[in-house]
């Protein structure tokens, strides 16, 4: 399946300055696209910069460098007024549904608010549209006048989704929307997201470290490590064959539901290193089981592995051939 491009991110970087000589390289020179109606899964460990990418995409964090093009318009150079006009087309859903809802506003007020802000509809029409959207994400009309704290976590997240989708956005950044939910609720929320995408044709950037959820929802998957993109490819190809040792390690850490299968040996030791003043080298070199001296010389570029599948590893061709 191919998609017409909606978002094009080129050489995006975000540095958080710590003091005169130190900065955190949260996102370093990342490029990717998201198609219309496509879901791009963004995976990586905690601290890999996934959330920062999502927030830069919505200009909630100002990128330090690089450009973001959204539906043909340059998002990075947009003024505050232009940005406000784009807001209804760019939305996000949070990890912690309760924290993301204003505790002092009812569900109805919360979901109607984007409409009241961005359309000229009457208050009654906004309320009706909000109620309709809440029904579509599977919330009973009796919830309309409730406060967030009166709802279950799954219902709260449905409200978060309804609020994000009520203005019919083109892109929704889903920032780990299922990671605080139990497995059944997670399946429900993924269902809702899938159904709404089919109905509205919205694109998702699905940020998660839950690989099973990402596999289920995403058309393509991008893997981040220490603020860098290390591999990107279609879900099917990436799940079958990982061309970067980090992706291999990440996938091997997912236990199979079949208990008779042996636990895979590829698990990487240690933790993600510090992102302060990153050096120009492969970020994974310290933990990589197959690293060679050249890995320390420079950050490897994205190698085309064929079939729109890219991996940032100098040894990717050997890895693919099975030589390692």
């Amino acid at each position: 399946m191919t998609f017409a491009p909606l978002v094009q991110v080129a050489h995006l970087s975000k540095r958080f300055r710590l003091d005169r000589h130190h900065y955190v390289g949260a996102v370093n020179d990342i490029s990717f696209t998201i198609g219309k109606g496509e879901t791009l899964g963004l995976v990586g460990e905690s601290g890999s910069g996934k959330t920062t990418v999502g927030r830069c995409l919505l200009r909630l964090i100002e990128p330090s460098a690089g450009s973001i093009t959204f539906a043909g318009a340059d998002l990075t150079g947009a003024s505050a007024a232009e940005l406000r006009a784009l807001r209804p087309r760019l939305q996000l859903v949070f990890q912690d549904p309760l924290a993301s809802l204003n505790p002092r506003r009812t569900i109805g007020q919360t979901v109607a608010e984007p409409l009241r802000l961005h359309t000229r509809q009457s208050a009654a029409a906004c309320r009706a549209a909000a109620a309709e959207m809440l029904r579509e994400v599977g919330l009973d009309a009796s919830r309309f006048d409730r406060y967030p704290i009166e709802l279950t976590a799954s219902e709260q997240q449905r409200v978060g989704i309804a609020r994000a989708l009520v203005t019919r956005p083109d892109l929704v950044v889903l920032d780990e929307p299922t990671s605080t939910l139990d497995p059944i609720m997670r399946a429900e929320i993924l269902d809702v997201l899938e159904r709404m995408q089919a109905a509205l044709g919205v694109s998702y950037l699905f940020i998660s470290h839950d690989l099973t959820a990402v596999e289920r929802l995403s058309h393509r998957i991008a893997v981040m490590y220490l603020g860098r993109l290390v591999e990107i490819g279609s879900t099917r190809a990436l799940m079958r064959q990982q061309d970067h040792p980090y992706t291999r390690a990440l996938l091997s850490a997912v236990l199979d539901a079949d208990p008779t299968k042996p636990i895979p040996p590829h698990v990487v030791e240690g933790e993600i290193p510090s992102a302060v003043n990153p050096r120009d080298e492969c970020p994974f070199v310290g933990r990589c089981p197959i690293h060679i001296p050249v890995c320390r010389d420079a950050m490897p570029g994205m190698a085309d592995m064929g079939g729109a599948h890219f991996a940032a590893c100098v040894r990717a061709p050997e890895l693919v051939r099975g030589a390692l």
Partner: protein
């Protein structure tokens, strides 16, 4: 409608509260060693007088009657007599209570107009040079505020602003030695002077109030300040605030939402501090010679003067109760969940 029911229910709660307070103070009287009539008249009074007062106070009757008699006396504003000063306690309080209330109100007003805005500005990110300055000042204040005792700060202020600079009057009380106190209406000299239209006395009362109020605001405003700063900080960092920005709300609206969510804990803290200060400002009252309620209570304790102590306990309980009533009503106005009973 729902608000009326809530307010009605909350006011109704005052009845059992008052009842419990009156029982508590009554038990306090009875729990004291010795004869209340003898305590009130002092050790040197003749036995006949004591017996007469016993009958008058109905102390010769069973406990329930004694309680009723006590409540009756309270209703008439009769709080007994101080045996040390041979004065009516109610007359003493008419002077002492307004002095302390004036101090508390003035101090808390300073907290509201100086410290709370400072806390809010320093909680907001950015803000340029003004914001940076506010954060520096706020950091310094946060360090100092918890560490300086009120009497010490009061003395330093007197030394600097009276002895050195001569900007403020000395610690001579609530008015200058030559000033005549205004006609008693509220007992608060600033208010009474304004009612009497006596501007000279008003300014004098205000000048005498300035240093004590600054001392009180600086020392006892600290918990309120810290609460405002930290709750606004966390409200501004919360996901719903990020969302409010993401949905395209104007920055002022975003800030208003955050402030509304940050306000309740700060209001509770302000209420707790105010309730405490009725007796807790005694050192400030002493340093500035204000003759306030705290001083009165401490004097009564040191001379075992029971009637004033009982009156003080009663008044602080009622005052605290009223402050908490105000806190609850403010909470109700700010938080729609309260009326729904939806809070967990």
């Amino acid at each position: 409608m729902r608000s009326l029911i809530y307010i009605g229910r909350r006011l109704l709660l005052l009845v059992p509260q008052l009842l419990l307070i009156s029982i508590a103070t009554f038990v306090l009287i009875r729990a004291l060693p010795g004869d209340p009539a003898r305590l009130e008249l002092g050790p040197l009074a003749p036995q006949e007088g004591v017996d007469q007062l016993r009958r008058q106070l109905r102390l010769d009757q069973p406990l329930p009657q004694q309680y009723l008699a006590y409540v009756e006396r309270l209703a008439q504003g009769n709080l007994g007599r101080s045996w040390v000063g041979s004065t009516e306690v109610s007359a003493d309080l008419a002077v002492r209570l307004p002095a302390t209330l004036e101090l508390i109100i003035g101090g808390m007003l300073l907290v509201a107009v100086v410290l709370v805005p400072l806390a809010m500005v320093s909680a907001m990110p950015g803000g340029g040079i003004a914001g940076q300055l506010a954060r520096k000042v706020s950091f310094g204040y946060g360090l100092l505020a918890g560490a300086l005792p009120d009497f010490w700060l009061g003395l330093v202020l007197i030394f600097v602003f009276f002895s050195l600079l001569g900007w403020a009057p000395g610690p001579e009380g609530r008015l200058g030695i030559l000033d005549v106190s205004p006609d008693h209406v509220t007992g608060m000299y600033t208010v009474d002077a304004l009612i009497a239209g006596d501007l000279a006395t008003f300014w004098s009362a205000l000048a005498h109030l300035a240093l004590p109020c600054i001392t009180l605001a600086f020392v006892y405003g600290a918990p309120v300040f810290k609460m405002v700063r930290s709750s606004l900080e966390s409200a501004l960092k919360a996901d719903y605030t990020l969302y409010a920005r993401a949905v395209g709300l104007r920055p002022t609206t975003v800030l208003r939402y955050a402030m509304r969510n940050a306000a309740p804990p700060s209001i509770v803290m302000a209420g707790v501090v105010s309730g405490y200060l009725l007796g807790g400002a005694v050192l400030i009252e002493t340093v500035f010679n204000l003759n306030g309620l705290g001083q009165y209570a401490v004097q009564a304790v040191t001379t075992a003067d029971y009637a004033p102590i009982q009156a003080f306990v009663l008044i602080s309980a009622v005052f605290t109760m009223l402050v908490y009533l105000l806190v609850d009503l403010a909470y109700f106005a700010l938080d729609p969940r309260v009326s729904r009973g939806a809070t967990r």
